[in-house]
Assembly symmetry: C2
Homo-oligomer: 207 residues x 2
DNA sequence: AAATTACTGTTATTTTCATAACAATGTTAT
DNA sequence: ATAACATTGTTATGAAAATAACAGTAATTT
């Protein structure tokens, strides 16, 4: 169970868990693979295969124990003490993300923000302190922050990423349109909105 | 060239184009596959394979004609008159996206926004009119909008998507965490930030 | 002129992911 | 008791994507 799961399976596990938490509030204690599948608009086989990969096994004709499954997924995705997240670049997008996560209760908590604009630093956004970028390395190490969200302009993103790698960061979510280059031990997820929209445009084309 | 390209190839084409536009401003007229590859931190083979798929061929020992390639990619991704985009839900994220795209000049233009909050409707955000959600179907049809960005709360997203499908929308980018279900002729791209962060968390875990 | 080099374009292989097929088994219906 | 059913878990197959291998060729070097 310690071996690395496929990327897509991990994505779906996260979604299963949220769907299940929601389902649980309806009072039901068991759920069939095809019910989970319906919640996510995928197939029941996909669900069973994912659960097989994490070694969780349900009961024949009864399905899966919802609470148990939620817990197992938690053991896989979460660490015991949770992981800490920093947001770099408190512009429109950065602030929007901070606001969004301040409500959520997950094992991931945004504990620091960084910006290079003195008008934005030393203030609190969505309950989180924003420091000057020069303090980033120090604070990331001190706080044990392991995940960073990059929402600075493209030109700055490369520098920021380099610094992050030096601090020993382990995961990066990059919203800038600049492709980043990080060593293999840092998990990088790029999200380039323009690319996504242009891809949609291509597939939305008539003909 | 009319046959559908692989999803990932289309993504990269969008990125090649932006990298090339940038490269062009440096004055160079030709570029090698390995130079394109370096810009994106991918391999040269990947680049050549993608270009093969779109049927563009460079010159031996000289590489690719940058302008020509930019133009070819444009012919693939863009339509002659561009496509129109609507943003549904003008909250923190929706406004952030509107602001972001108002600067950019692409063949994709955000031409309308929709919200159900009367305090937000009938105003202009980033140069774009925000209408009441009840007018959505009408305006999408009238304006010929083909792509929608969904940034309403999860509970609302399903309804919104159903309406969008009925208007004949062709592509959807969904930021809500609710998995949507659309017919095959609508291209759907989901982006669930929590899932992405949890995935990063999993791969960032020590062990 | 022959060999080497530096590229492109294509085919072959591998890897990752999704889907299909089916065996196993307890439950319900007859 | 037997047959039909509903559901899980696993193996087999297929599809999409990335990578590797290599053939072709013009320019450059020897
Ligand atoms: N706003 C969006 O919806 C959106 C959408 C897609 C992509 N993006 C990308 O996300 C990034 C941020 O977008 P935005 O709209 O929030 O831009 P923004 O200009 O509003 O914010 C950028 C922030 O980064 C800060 N910054 C700049 N350089 C910095 C540095 N070296 N160190 C620390 N902070 C620095 C700025 O002070 C500013 O607060 C950009 O790369 C943009 O391309 C944004
Ligand atoms: N803010 C973020 O950075 C962020 C990050 C990840 C995901 N999301 C997702 O994006 C969506 C929007 O997030 P947000 O932070 O902007 O929320 P928000 O509450 O600030 O904005 C939601 C907007 O949608 C409008 N709305 C609600 N119901 C509507 C309906 N039926 N029709 C039209 N408009 C409607 C509201 O009036 C509001 O303006 C949510 O689904 C959220 O989960 C947001």
């Amino acid at each position: 169970m310690n071996k690395k799961l496929p990327d897509k399976t991990v994505e779906r596990l996260s979604q299963y868990r949220r769907a299940l938490l929601n389902y649980l509030s309806g009072g039901k204690q068991h759920i069939f693979s095809h019910e989970i599948a319906n919640l996510l608009h995928i197939t029941a086989v996909q669900v069973r295969r994912d659960l097989m990969l994490i070694g969780y096994t349900g009961t024949l004709r009864q399905g899966y124990d919802v609470k148990e499954l939620i817990e197992i997924i938690g053991k896989i995705i979460d660490t015991r003490d949770g992981q800490k997240v920093a947001v770099i670049g408190i512009g429109n997008l950065g602030r929007s993300i901070m606001g969004y996560f301040s409500g959520k209760r997950t094992r991931l908590s945004i504990v620091a923000a960084f910006d290079n604009n003195p008008e934005k630093t030393d203030k609190i956004y969505a309950g989180v302190q924003c420091y000057h970028i020069d303090q980033m390395a120090e604070i990331i190490k001190k706080e044990g922050i392991s995940i960073a969200v990059i929402s600075v302009p493209g030109e700055e993103a490369v520098k920021v990423a380099e610094t992050l790698v030096m601090t020993g960061i382990r995961g990066i979510l990059n919203f800038s349109p600049k492709p980043l280059n990080v060593p293999a031990h840092v998990y990088l997820q790029e999200y380039d909105m323009i690319t996504m929209l242009e891809k949609i445009a291509y597939f939305a084309k008539k003909g």
